[in-house]
Structures are given as C-alpha cells and as structure tokens.
Symmetry: C2
Subunit: 479 residues, 2 copies
C-alpha cells in the first residue's frame, strides 16, 4: 500500500526518489543552492558506510591522512587534462581575512594536485614506495543541476592516493581497490550487484591513463557509477615532479593512482532497494536493524507488554542495532508506518497475547504486508532475527541482480540499442570512436558506462559501425 | 639524551614544539599559507580522539549530522556580536562555476548560522525538543600567525549544536558537555588535568550568553584552551527565528548551545607530555601502543628471535595496538630511536638470550633510559604490558598535575601577578572591568583564562583594584 506523501515509482520515479529522501528524513535542502543537509538518519547510514570502507581500505595496507581544503589555482593548472576537466566547476576563494588574495584558492574538487605536491616532498627513494594514503573529506564541484546525494555542490567522500615504483604495481593497486574494496563493499554490504570494467576515453577521469569503475542498475533501469579507480600513469608525477631514486641510483617518476566513492552511494542505496512504502535498507547498513513495537490497550496490558519489550530489547540489543519504540502518544500503526518509511529491516511486535504465549510477531521490511510477517517463539529470538537479517541482506542482492538481468538486453542494431536504454542496459559490440560515442549519446542520452572485464569469446559486429570486433560494452542512461 | 634534530625545551620551547611535529612525522607544511597537512601518524591520533569523543557525545544522547561548508554572507550578519567576532577572519567564495556569485559565500568558521537556519525549519513543537546534534567537520578562520595544530587556517573539529525548551535545560546541557564529555576526555584519555570554569565577557564566544571552558597548562607554563561550551541563550533563536509551540500553545524562542574541540588537542597532547627525546603519548591515544624490536646478529639468531617476535606479536596484538618492526636494513638502535621519537609508550626488545631464557626487555617511553627498562618473563606478558600501559597513562596525568600545581601561584599584588605569569598560572582575586582586563593583558600578555567553578570561601582584595571580592580567576599567557 503506497504511503502518504510518497509518489509511486511507476508514476514519477524522480519524484519518488525525492519523496523517500524527505519522508525517511535522510536529507534536507539548505540555504545554499545545491548544498544539502545530511540529517541524522542519513548521516548514520554514511557512518556505517565509512566504517565498512575504512576497514577495507586499512586492511589493504592504506593509512589515512588529511590535506588542505584549498588548492592554489596554479596547482590545478599543472596537469593539462586535469585543469580542463575541473576548472569549469570549481568554487574560488578570492578574499581572506578582509583582503583580496594574491593568488585565488580553489576549494578542492578532488585532491590530486595538493597531494601531488606533498608526495613530491615525501618521496625520495624506492624505499618510500609504495606510498598508500587515503583521505576522508568534503569536496566541492559547481554542478548546475543537483539532486540530494546523487549530485550536490558539496559532497563527502574518501579519496585514495597512492604512488608506486612501477606501472605494473600501480595497475595492480588500481584493480585491487576496484575488486577487493569497492565491488566487495557494493555487493556484500550494500547488496547491490555491480558491473566491473574500464571506462572509455570519453568517460575517464581528467588526467588519468585509465579509469576503472563499478556500475550499478537503479530500479528505473538507469546506471549509477558507484566507484571509480584511476591509474594516473606518470601524468601527475610529471606535473608535480614526484621522483624517486631507484636501487641503482637513477631518478625516475613514480606511478600514481587515485580512487574514490562518495555520499552518492546513499542515493544508490535508496534507488536500488526502496519501494513505494519508503526506504528499504540492507541490514548491514541500517542504523536501526530491529525495532520493537509494543501493542496494548489497558494499563495492565501496558505494563506486562513493556516489561517483555524491555527484556527483548536487552537480549537483541547485545547483537543488533535495536530500538524500542515505547512512545505513548502515538499508535502502533503510526509506529509501523514510520519505521517502514525509514527502512528498518525487521520489526518485532509484542502484544498481550504474545506475552501470554511467549511469542512475538516478526515482520520483514523487504516483504511488506502479511506475507512478510509470522509469529515466532521468544525463546531463540536472537538466532531467529540473525537468520532473518541474513536472509534479507541476501534477498535484496538477489532481487537487484535479477532485476538487472531482466533489464539487460544484448543488442545487435542501433535501433535495438535505442529501445533497450529506455528501460535498462544495452550490451553491445562496439568498435566506434569517441565521436561515435558522442553521436550515440546525442541520439539516445545513453553513454558507454563500462567496458566489462568479462568479454565474449567470439567476435561480433559493432552496433553502430558494423565493424567486426571482440569488444562488448554496456550502454545506459546514467545518473 | 636529546635527539638529533630536536631542540631542547630549555633552549627554545617554541622550536622544540615544531621539531617534535616534524620528527614525529605528525604534520607538514602545505603550499597554502597557514594550512597544514596532517600526516598519517598525526591523523591516527586524531582518529583515536574522534572515536573516544564520538562515543561520549553519543552516550549523552546526541546524533551526528552534516551541514554545508558554505554560509551565505547575510546569515553570518544576522547575529550582531557573531558577525563582529567572525567577519574579520573569514574566507570568502566569490566565484563558482566560472561566474561571479550574486551573494558571496563564507567558508564556515563555525556553523551556528547555517545550523540555526535548519533548526528553524525542523523545530515546530515542544515535542521536537531537545534537539541534540553534533557535526564532525573542517572549518576555516583566516589567522595571521599560525602554528601546526595549535592555530591553522583550516582545522578539523566537532561542533555540537543543541536546542532546548528552557534556559535551565540549555545551561544543564552546556555544563554536562564541559564536565562529562570534555573534562572527562581530557583527564582520563589525554591524561591532561584541566581547570573548569567560565570565561569573562572579554573572552567569551561571539554571540554567547556564557562560555565555559577547560584550560590546560603546557610545559612552558602557558595555558591552552582545550574545549569550550557555550550557552547561547536566545541570541541565535531570535536571529534565525527558531521558535516552538509550548504545550499550552504559545510560540516561544528556543534556547541553544554550541560546543567544540578541535585538532588543536593534538598540539595540547604534544606540549603537555613530550620531552627532549620526542613525542610522548598517553597509551589511550597512541596509534601504536607496543612496538616489538628483534635483536640479532647471525642468521641463526635471526630466525629464532623473529619466530619468538611473531608469537609475541600475535599474543599482544589481540589486546593492544602492536607493531613488530622486523626491518632488516636498519639497526635495533635506529629502531629504538625512531619509535621513541614517535612516542610509542612501550617497547618490547627480544634478543637471543631472551629467547633462551623466555624473557623480554620492557622499556617505558615516559621514563627514558635504563631506569625505565626491565626484564620480564614472556609468560604473562599481556598482563604485564596492560599494567604498564595503565601505569604510564596514570603517571603522565600525575606528572602533568604536579607540574601545574608547582607552576600555579596565589598572587596578591599586580607585581606578583606579572612575575607569576612568566612561568605559569596566577590565581588572583579579581573585581576588575573588561577595560582592566585589557590593561593587564597589555602589561603582562596574560589574560583571564577562566573563572574556576571552585571558588574560595572567604573574600580577598582584587589584585588590581584592591576592591574586596569573593571571585578568584586564573591569569595566564595562552596559546
């Protein structure tokens, strides 16, 4: 049953998204165009994302550091492609302490330039390599069309920056991050299946040699880039003079990488799993995993039910992020609704009969209504809830995977491509140029999201040019 | 024995501080004036500070959120004292996306203004109160004279912002944060004793009704403000129209508070505990608590010693942040030196004789040289190290407390005050005006750091005016 204030997806997907953001109290508009306020419920999701990613980033040998928010304009200009890509969308500080600055400062849109400057100071010898740094920070890109989480002027992210002695090591790092950190996190924590592969030159990071990405499908069939990992080659090493002495005393440029994911992952979470009743969260990223709602009429019932609820809260709270909603001023129905909209994966209902029979009603958010509800004994509830949370986590992933498979079409003509990207991904043989890509985008609003690592064994004909090729790509409209 | 590259404190305290920051690899200068790079070792300390504070902030009922970096200039101007205090030191964004902005944006120096705007939207009724929010963020203040951690253009901090129905609740919140969060953290985690009290009008936050603070003494006798908590009265509620409906349907302004601590705490840590050999860290904030250093000559010794070290690393690593320094290319002496400079509280040395006798040498960083080193059995090492870390934590606190007591003088004349603030704190009866405070500062470079909560029972004569008063204050030169 659709919720008050939530536009059904089928009616207006874009408005549905905004309604979820508002009704699940995830974010709010601010007084500054394009900048959002991340409200506590949204920020709690970000804290869980941060913790999970930070663990993975550290487990792969990286350490955190912090670099300045401001970048001298001249630094941005040192790498030619980089400045071309970012200069049009920077915010510029021209005054500080009441005076005009001699050199304007750019609010970081990404930190390759400012970090490159430090790397050049820190790296002297092959012994200093690899240098594996990560930063959690805010960045600013002056976007014209913004949407909460998906595209905002300011956003929060992590950005990894590493330097290596050889091209092979830099490439290995770039791919390790994509697979072991980003894809693993997306699939096993966010419950979102992702396609892994390389970006075309048209879509790669400004200043990179190669950009790799993970791409996810949203429920409207559009793609969302959920993480990118860049092999920067020696481009930034040359621009910032980052050199090291080899064991045989030569001076060489290092090879660098950078990689990042941002608060737009919260947008991906919302759009991958939620429904017309509100937010749906994978249990691993739910700030509240279990909510206990007491049901009673009389005062006598109230005290017996609440006593039972407090006991269950103590039991479940030791293992899961658990909330007991013991508000007196609102009805159980109101509470069910509120926690459904906010995406709590499991609801435990306790009424007078449950107290007598030592049972509870267990409702799963991902299967709304009666179908997702059953009565279970209080005895063994922790195990029961654990299995249920695991099952929800798994089921969300499988549902998203099935959806992607059902909305991915192998196309063999441009007409088929055009049609396929109306509702999902088009997998196509491709031998076109960057100009051809531009043309396809102009005609279909779809771009090549990724050249998947998994490629077919046999050749086929390019969907546009008809040329024989073994390369398949994924076309889609993207967020 | 003083370390190479570290100026002794007695010779030049200020240079000693900068040497520690550099040699312990805590921070580095950046290409932007007054902005530092927090290097991984420094950032790891900040992560521990964050975790400890975040736990305390959440345990007292607050939730985290995130508000925009940019504040419209007009917002800052809504509270008269606030703009007067902060306008001279803001960084201003005048251009975005290649165009001049219609209204300049200020990079937040603090977030009362932008958060006040959201509070006005979110708070409707007494049911929405109290609203207890915290934010972890970067802020920018255009300081002219900067020093790593202590005073930088950009710094990292947490800022709490709360709204309450009554003045009494706001006051209670302001004091709870000071005592339960800040003072508890400073004393029990940072091992730094603090004086708690109120600021004079001259020193209070721009826009506050009352500012409370904790003040610590550094090893040169100067004061460092380690945390402030402000009762903002209804000043910001009036400026931003933050109103609520009372249970009896009246519209009232809320009462707000704000409070913060920043990366300057790392400066406090350094200056409170470190010595001429390098950084000294309280175990609770040491990124590496125990370092294991193998000592061997022959290959046979090497393999026996390393085997033992790996076993001890596995044992100790389950309980403490433990590092095994198994580098081959540097000597044990080099390693001892490096970890001493970086402030690792406990060093475990393992040589061939230790392997034979099932012992290790245990050295404590806070007692350098032979005095702090002894041999203990490998059996029971986890317990032994736990006790040693506890003892170091305790001992650092006691040493700092003793130092403060020895450098605090009860003064009864202006001459005595002048002399006392040369080397420490002057405790003095005070009945002067703000102009009198200005005069004292001009003459002595000391300010009233705090009016302690603990006040004497009997009256005395004001150190400047000679007027009878029961109020004692602490004068000191401050960072």
């Amino acid at each position: 049953m659709p919720k008050e204030g939530i536009t059904p997806r089928s009616q207006d997907y874009s408005q549905w998204y905004l309604d979820i953001v508002e009704k699940a109290v995830l974010a709010d508009y601010s007084a500054v165009r394009g900048c959002m306020v991340i409200r506590p419920h949204g920020y709690a999701i970000w804290e869980l994302i941060e913790r999970e990613l930070d663990n993975r980033i550290k487990a792969t040998g990286h350490v955190n550091a912090y670099f300045p928010l401001f970048i001298p304009m001249s630094f941005l200009q040192k790498e030619a492609e980089h400045v071309e890509g970012f200069a049009p969308e920077v915010a510029v500080v021209t005054h500080g302490g009441g005076e005009q600055l001699a050199e304007p400062l750019v609010v970081r849109p990404t930190s390759e330039a400012i970090i490159g400057h430090s790397f050049a100071k820190w790296i002297k010898s092959w012994r200093d390599l690899p240098l594996l740094i990560n930063q959690w920070a805010n960045v600013v890109r002056w976007e014209m069309r913004t949407r909460p989480f998906l595209r905002t002027l300011e956003f929060l992210w992590q950005e990894g920056h590493t330097a290596h002695a050889t091209e092979a090591e830099a490439e290995e790092e770039t791919l390790r991050i994509l697979h072991e950190v980003y894809a693993d996190f997306a699939e096993n924590v966010m419950a979102i299946p992702v396609l892994r592969g390389r970006k075309t030159d048209k879509e790669k990071f400004a200043g990179a040699l190669r950009t790799y990405a993970i791409e996810a499908m949203m429920q409207d069939g559009r793609a969302l880039q959920a993480g990118t990992s860049h092999n920067l080659g020696q481009n930034f090493a040359r621009a910032f003079e980052i050199m090291y002495q080899t064991p045989d005393n030569r001076q060489e440029y290092v090879w660098t990488t950078s990689w990042g994911v941002s608060t737009r992952l919260i947008g991906a979470l919302i759009m991958a799993h939620s429904d017309d009743e509100g937010l749906v969260l994978p249990p691993k990223l739910a700030p509240v995993q279990v909510v206990i709602v007491p049901i009673y009429k009389s005062d006598a019932e109230r005290s017996a039910v609440l006593e039972c609820c407090h006991r269950l809260k103590a039991e479940l709270g030791g293992t899961f992020r658990t909330k007991l909603d013991d508000r007196d001023e609102v009805t159980p129905g109101f509470k069910f609704n509120e926690w459904e909209v906010r995406g709590v994966p499991v609801r435990v209902e306790v009424g007078p009969r449950d107290v007598q029979q030592a049972t509870v009603a267990l409702a799963r958010r991902d299967v709304p209504g009666r179908e997702g509800k059953r009565f279970v004994p209080q005895d063994g509830l922790v195990d029961e809830v654990r299995q249920l949370l695991d099952s929800i986590q798994q089921s969300l992933f499988e549902r998203a995977l099935r959806f992607r498979e059902e909305h991915t079409v192998q196309v063999s003509s441009f007409e088929e491509l055009k049609q396929a990207v109306e509702t999902g991904f088009a997998s196509a043989y491709w031998a076109g140029s960057t100009e051809d890509e531009d043309m396809v985008q102009a005609e279909t609003r779809a771009t090549i999201r990724v050249i998947p690592f998994e490629q077919p064994e046999k050749a086929g004909k390019c969907v546009l040019t008809g040329k024989e090729t073994t390369q398949q790509v994924i076309f889609a409209r993207a967020y």
